[in-house]
């Protein structure tokens, strides 16, 4: 599903070059539930952005579903983002002038699904997330947990092969965090690969595989029992 070989990425700021990912080798199979941990600044978000084709990498290779993700035109990249990947941001990234339902439905707009159909499907996903009653609410009228559920519903609606979530519970209290994790486990059971970046041990413990990043290299890669 996901195959990284010697993946390098640096940020260039002014005259400085910051080497963030220093040769990652990683294989994640279809249907896995993986958490990525590591201290702040270790490169977790950077890795996830590369996996989500939101950012480019410098060296090595990244294959998604056996297709090499390099030198993609923005049009091709858009196609992969739309069909293969669902991304859940730590800061939600909902469109402020669209209500919950329209936000969830937006990926289907780019798949040319008609307005009525996509709104209906969006309602189903909001129902699954338990926030159907908030469908007409604007993002600024929703709580953090509700926004995160909207964002998750949006990531799921296009039935992606993989969902990438960058600290999805970072802004939530522990009860809500565990609820969201249960949702992720549900989603994962339907066969969607899940990669979750987190700082919290009790979150990572709910996943099947924990990857520890340290200073841009994989420090450990443990498969847990559950």
């Amino acid at each position: 599903m996901i195959e990284l070989k010697g993946l390098h990425k640096s940020y260039i700021t002014g005259n400085n070059k910051l080497h963030v990912l220093k040769g990652l080798d990683l294989i994640i199979e279809q249907g896995e539930l993986v958490s990525v941990m590591g201290s702040s600044g270790s490169g977790k978000s950077t890795l996830l952005n590369v996996l989500g084709i939101l950012d480019s990498y410098d060296n090595g290779s990244y294959k998604l579903n056996n297709t090499l993700m390099s030198n993609l035109t923005e049009k091709k990249a858009a196609h992969f983002r739309n069909n293969m990947i669902g991304f859940v941001f730590q800061s939600f990234n909902l469109i402020s002038f669209k209500n919950a339902m329209e936000n969830v439905a937006l990926p289907l707009y780019y798949q040319r699904v008609g307005r009525k159909t996509r709104n209906k499907i969006a309602m189903e996903y909001l129902d699954k997330m338990g926030i159907k009653d908030w469908a007409e609410h604007m993002p600024n009228e929703l709580s953090g947990g509700q926004k995160q559920r909207v964002a998750i519903a949006r990531a799921m609606i296009s039935k992606p092969k993989v969902i990438l979530a960058d600290e999805p519970t970072g802004a939530l209290d522990s009860t809500t965090s565990l609820e969201v994790m249960d949702l992720f486990r549900e989603i994962n059971k339907s066969g969607i690969t899940m990669i979750i970046v987190t700082h919290e041990r009790d979150i990572s413990e709910k996943t099947n595989r924990i990857i520890q990043l340290k200073d841009g290299i994989i420090e450990s890669d443990l498969i847990s029992k559950n």
């Binding site: 950012d55 923005e74 739309n82 941001f89 469109i95 937006l106 707009y109 040319r112 307005r115």
Partner: protein, 413 residues
């Protein structure tokens, strides 16, 4: 290729971002509105003044008798100057460069004119045949007076369309020429019907041969005015003619050359040129202000578009992250911008034209302000210019935002 879903998406974005839609639209609508008002007022003023010049040729000179205001060679001021046929003949023979010439009498005759049972009061205007050219009348039926009418003291008359319509009712209307009408009780044969674009009371005239009038009504050879045209002389040549005429009259009628009330000479060519020069200036001014208005509009709409697209960078990042292609993003932004600016331009156009209509309808007819219409082609071109510049201004940041990696767009705060 009408993509309903895309337009729904565009409309929903427009509807939910009212302020920026309004700001974008306003700068366009305002620019076009002001341009229309400006062009329209300029045109209205020009039409009004041009109308003042209608009803006579633009190269005419009118010499009218008056009353002296200066003492001269022992004469006291306040003496009436009287013209006779001799003045007409002399001007005709001695002044070079005359194209057409006519004398006119303004003496009031009983001005009742009748045909069968219909009658009315109209102005009876004795003149020479050339007056048709000087007065710039248009012959609608028959002919104007001719030289033989004058030589033979014929009792013939050319009547205006208004006079014809007043006297010849229904079936007679088409058959006025050849009929006899009574002027002060004297039968005159209608030889022609003319129309006149001049002032309203000039349209209520009938013209009769001046010698006939002198014989039948006045019993003298007095006239009140000599008018002539100057062909295609330059302004300077015409001025020289006017000087020559003034000197000649002053010598014959014994008044001070500087006494411009003894006889008055209206040189229309000079008046006309002066006014047209003024309008060339006003037109230039209107253009400069108009171009300024448009430039202000362009700067305004471009500014707003740049800010709008910048403000939307994060939204663009989100859209890209969930799979929007650069094309779909750019085309949506551009379509939105064209829609708003074109609609706003249209609104400005309608409001501007509406206000002009209102002004010309609601205001009492002012002689110097007629038909204030704006040149639609200019207005539409200006709208297109604003639409294009707003779109271009939005295009570049939109292309940039759509082309970068989503993560960069998302970082934009």
């Amino acid at each position: 290729m009408f993509d309903l879903d895309k337009w729904q998406e565009i409309f929903s974005t427009i509807k939910k971002n009212r302020l920026r839609t309004f700001l974008t639209g306003f700068s366009v609508a305002w620019g076009i509105f002001m341009l229309i008002i400006l062009l329209g007022s300029g045109r209205g003023l020009e039409n009004g003044v041009r109308n003042q010049f209608k009803g006579s040729v633009n190269n005419g000179i009118w010499i009218s008798s008056g009353r002296t205001t200066m003492a001269y060679q022992g004469f006291k001021p306040g003496r009436d100057i009287k013209f006779t046929n001799e003045d007409y003949e002399r001007v005709k023979e001695t002044i070079d460069g005359i194209d057409v010439i006519s004398a006119r009498s303004m003496i009031n005759i009983n001005n009742t004119i009748s045909y069968k049972n219909e009658y009315g009061n109209f102005t009876i205007s004795p003149c020479h045949p050339g007056y048709a050219i000087i007065k710039d009348v248009k012959i609608e039926e028959g002919r104007f007076l001719n030289d033989i009418d004058l030589q033979k003291y014929r009792k013939v008359v050319a009547i205006s369309t208004i006079v014809r319509d007043a006297l010849f009712k229904n079936g007679d209307k088409k058959k006025a020429v050849g009929k006899y009408i009574k002027i002060s009780g004297v039968p005159f044969k209608v030889v022609g019907v003319f129309s006149d674009e001049g002032l309203e009371d000039e349209q209520r005239r009938v013209y009769i041969p001046i010698y006939t009038a002198q014989r039948v009504f006045f019993g003298s050879n007095e006239i009140d005015q000599v008018s002539l045209t100057t062909g295609d002389k330059t302004i300077d040549e015409v001025d020289a003619m006017v000087e020559q005429i003034r000197k000649q009259f002053s010598a014959i009628h014994k008044f001070d050359v500087e006494d411009h009330r003894a006889i008055s000479i209206w040189n229309k060519a000079q008046d006309f040129k002066r006014t047209m020069d003024l309008f060339a200036g006003i037109r230039l001014f209107v253009w400069i202000v108009g171009i300024g208005t448009i430039i202000a509009g362009i700067v305004g709409v471009s500014n707003i578009m740049i800010i709008v697209v910048k403000e939307r960078t994060k939204e663009i990042g989100i859209r890209k992250a969930i799979g929007a292609t650069p094309y779909s993003i750019v085309s949506t932004i551009i379509a939105e911008s064209i829609l708003i600016t074109a609609f706003a331009g249209y609104v400005g156009l309608i409001l501007g034209i509406g206000l002009l209509e209102l002004i010309s309808k609601a205001l009492p007819p002012i002689e110097f302000f007629v038909n204030p219409e704006a040149d639609l082609r200019v207005a539409v071109s200006a709208t297109i210019l604003l639409v294009v510049s707003g779109t271009l201004a939005g295009l570049f940041p939109a292309l940039k935002a759509a082309g970068i990696r989503p993560i960069e767009a998302l970082r934009d705060e």
